[in-house]
Symmetry: C2
Subunit: 148 residues, 2 copies
DNA sequence: ATAAATAAGATTTTTTTTATCCTATATTGG
DNA sequence: CCAATATAGGATAAAAAAAATCTTATTTAT
């Protein structure tokens, strides 16, 4: 029930690239150093981000990574799911066939509901906002208020 | 980013106890059989549920588990957190000291926001509702709010 | 060509999760 | 009281997932 470190690293990486400007190539080592990400591990993560179309990997000397998509068009959800795959809170939702209960069991509807909500929340915030540090100030609407 | 099997088992266990009536003692093996939970593993899970005050463990012949709290007073969140501890989506929220960024980093505000929302969602549904199978019918309003 | 980078596959290490084994203890019924 | 039935609880094992690293290959700037 936790966001993996790989995902956290991916978010940091995108954020760093965003801060450095969309088209700019930034070296892997530089990103790793400033964002405190194990260098080789970042390499693996970058591969996934590239596969998802979020960044481009530039090889060779002076190589590195380049953000392909504007920060405002990348949601936190995009980043998370680029690394961990689509969010599912439990197995039964993903593989209904593997659980005889799913058709009748109301619990699974709940998991699914929670899942949808979580994905919506993460989908609402983009990296432009994150860069501005404004993410904390928006109201959290809905019945079970907890503002902030 | 997934609900563990232990948590799923705990939910099934509570649900089974709830269906059998609040005060009733139900044998561990019976629960395990009907809810398809490895018997010994259920024993471990029951210990945690007992520690959380949700059930009572009855030893000896004719022993088993007894629901101590009315189904309508047990939320899904109670069940989840009885097993996995309080939900945190990432480490930095839980141990801010371990992450130098947390004070300034807007990303963490987002994780926290998502976390609060998830906890609210799970907190809004109790086992009485789950028993009735009504959980699927509540509207999930708008993309950002989700009242109810 | 050489140096500087990253790629990509394989592998290792660590952590978490899941499950089981074994001995102890409690309870029921005869 | 005794035997049978159940769960408790600590220890341990097995499996899976996550995190990290090693190695060799490839690409690019100068």
């Amino acid at each position: 029930m936790r966001i993996t470190r790989a995902t956290e690293y991916a978010v940091r990486c995108i954020l760093f690239l965003a801060v450095n400007g969309k088209g700019e190539v930034v070296g892997r080592k530089e990103i790793a150093k400033y964002m405190e990400i194990p260098g080789q591990f970042l390499g693996k993560i970058a591969q996934q981000l590239a596969k998802a179309g979020l960044i481009e990997i530039v090889q060779g000397a002076k190589g590195g990574y380049r953000l392909l998509v504007s920060p405002e068009k990348i949601s936190l959800l995009n980043a998370v799911e680029a690394i961990s795959g689509e969010i599912f809170l439990n197995d039964c939702i993903m593989r209904p066939a593997s659980c005889r209960r799913s058709a009748t069991c109301s619990v699974h509807c709940l998991w699914e509901r929670a899942r949808t909500q979580l994905r919506n929340t993460l989908g609402e915030v983009n990296f432009a906002k994150l860069m501005e540090g404004e993410s904390c100030f928006g109201p959290l609407e809905g019945s079970s208020r907890q503002g902030r």
